[in-house]
Symmetry: C2
Subunit: 397 residues, 2 copies
């Protein structure tokens, strides 16, 4: 029995092979500090659980396809703090940011169309696109420049007659880059000149540690081109809730994508009730979380750059660092850390960054680190990484 | 800004226009009995809510992309009662049956491919297919035959070189048909001869009121071709949980579709914990529900066939009846029921069936009725429908 060409073009997950190495390390009694995954260790605000516990209904009915109106209202109000002005009917609730992305791609792209995406990028962008016959035209960004965007001419050179949109995460996963106002203005200019949609994945909006944060949704004149993808996953450490959303001032887009939302009927009712409370969480929660992550970033970054040859600008957002290492192959280095290295029975697991690049050969010598451990554990992990890297370099001179 | 051709080919929901008529009727003080929607009024087993209330975690983490292993185990055991033998790694948890369907289509069909579907069919089959560039080749079935399948030659005549699968719901939404063992053997034969996938939407498996129920998954020799789509929505009256699943003995299929499951990360953790308890619900619950629906079917069917000219075999499954009425246009009749008819301030709302047909012109004179009200209300609704139809026919002679 044959599978579709499109599903065959989606790469299999590579994490399993590495997890096998991690499992073996653990079987040998090693402690492994996981810096490879984006699962935060912060407590989910209790309001989420409380709302669900207190649900009094006896029949768990379908919610509206658009989402519960009280949740939409709460998100609308949340956006006001960021000068993002939306009406209730500009917002739809989705099964995670993931569904928002997949449905957005289906709504604006046909088979054979393409989307510009700054590279390295969240690897599921690639998987969603390929699964529905859409290509990514990567705009390569560099560790040396802290993964900021190249000049306009370089971006524009990637546009062809099938280009429908530019998609980016800001703050960036995996890079931690936060785009400047000037960069976003440039994107807006390009979108206007070439009539492109802008898909802004802003799920890390609160995770900005220096400077101003600008949402592309605040830029005038292009508001009919902007689609903002959001999620409670990272913001409120509620990854398992799978509550995402999208917002757009473009009525045609909302009308189009709503057809997909109606086809899948609805998003879980109870999780939406919980999410209402999340979006009402006091801003002090978000501030505390932000301060915690800033500390973690500093712990990890300051240790990492002690090793000569490591190329890495201090990232200002999200909770990731992508670093270029003076190694030939980061995958090999990662496996070595798990199988051949330890200090007092402990080791560390980064994520090889090649999977975040589309362009062949890029990222082979890079790793992504998620600073999702408490500072005490993270300090140990950072030292292990530094020591591991130095040992590995000495062995492979 | 342009939308994709594929999203433009998905028809907008027609329910809103009719709901406007229903709203107006209610504003005028009329009571409307809704037979137009498939939202059951049966209580969700309390085990679902209890499991969620008792969740003790402080961080709501991602679940495995495959689904929680305890839920997969519970579904595997549930299937045993139906002689459906699956291993744990044959089963994946999805965001409702809807996601299972969309992901299945993407996994086996490319743009321009087609799928055979007995018509009338659940209209979202059409919407999912069109949204990803896949066509449906409808196999027309008739009210006169109780919507059973036509002869093999007729089905085979719809197959071309781009046909990848046959998709059906059994028991059937909207028709209430339950396919005989002979019909399923015929489908199996066709699938074998033409190397087609069989996508069996069996979410109404327990809603069978007469005769044997055969799942296509029990037929030998074609097990590598069968994909079973399932859901807790109707079975346990938990539509708002959005927990679906799929099962297949085809390892390649599971490996392919798992890539989509991994891209969307996971299904809500708490809802899965609740669903584990649903699948452990005592069979007496399902039996009671079955008996209740059987009564309802009889109440509605027996009233409906009193009107001369109504064509309708007594359906044996699901909780729907599709009836051909002696009217020109069932949509007009429905609007008339809402705006111009009442008995003592009460009226009834069927669902015009045209939207369940792909073939132009079919179903215009048909309605779908969902018997999801308690027998007392349903008796009133059935009498209203009969009286309404008789009055309408007298007016439009």
């Amino acid at each position: 029995m044959n599978l579709s060409k499109r599903i065959q073009s989606v790469p299999p997950s590579t994490i399993m092979e590495l997890l096998t190495f991690a499992s073996k390390a653990k079987q040998q009694g090693k402690k492994v500090y996981h810096l490879n995954i984006g699962q935060p260790d912060i407590k989910t605000p209790d309001g989420f659980f409380k709302a669900i516990r207190e649900y009094k209904g006896e029949i768990l009915e379908y919610a509206l396809s658009e989402g519960l109106s009280e949740l939409i209202e709460a998100i609308k109000n949340y956006y006001k703090d960021y000068n993002l002005e939306f009406n209730n009917d500009d917002i739809l609730i989705t099964n995670g940011g993931s569904e928002a992305l997949l449905f957005t791609i289906l709504t604006i792209c046909d088979e054979g169309d393409n989307i510009l995406v700054p590279e390295p990028f969240y690897s599921n962008y690639f998987n969603f696109c390929k699964s529905v016959g859409v290509n990514i035209n990567p705009i390569t960004t560099l560790a040396e420049n802290g993964f900021h965007l190249p000049i306009k001419e370089e971006i524009v050179s990637k546009i062809d007659s099938n280009t429908k949109a530019i998609l980016f995460s800001n703050p960036g996963n995996p890079t931690g880059v936060v785009y400047t106002k000037a960069e976003l203005d440039m994107i807006a200019e390009i979108a206007e000149e070439y009539n492109l949609w802008i898909i802004a994945d802003e799920v890390y909006r609160e995770f900005v540690y220096e400077g101003e944060y600008t949402s592309v949704g605040t830029i005038e004149n292009i508001k009919d081109k902007v689609i903002i993808v959001d999620s409670v996953s990272k913001r409120y450490s509620a990854c398992g809730a799978r509550i995402g959303s999208l917002a757009s001032k473009n009525k045609g887009f909302i009308k189009g994508i709503l057809k997909l939302c109606q086809a899948r009927l609805s998003v879980p009712t109870l999780e939406q009730l919980g999410a209402i409370e999340l979006y009402k969480t006091d801003n002090s929660y978000l501030k505390e979380v932000n301060e915690e992550y800033r500390k973690r970033r500093d712990v990890l970054y300051n240790e990492l750059i002690k090793v000569p040859g490591v190329v890495c600008k201090r990232p200002t957002g999200a909770f990731y660092i992508v670093a270029k290492l003076p190694v030939k192959n980061a995958d090999h280095f990662t496996k070595w850390l798990l199988s051949d290295f330890d200090i007092n029975g402990e080791t560390v697991m980064p994520c090889p960054a090649e999977g975040f690049y589309q362009t062949e050969g890029l990222g082979v010598d890079e790793i992504r680190l998620a600073y999702i451990l408490n500072t005490e554990d993270l300090s140990k992990a950072a030292v292990l990484l530094k020591e591991g890297l130095e040992t590995y370099l000495a062995l492979n001179k």
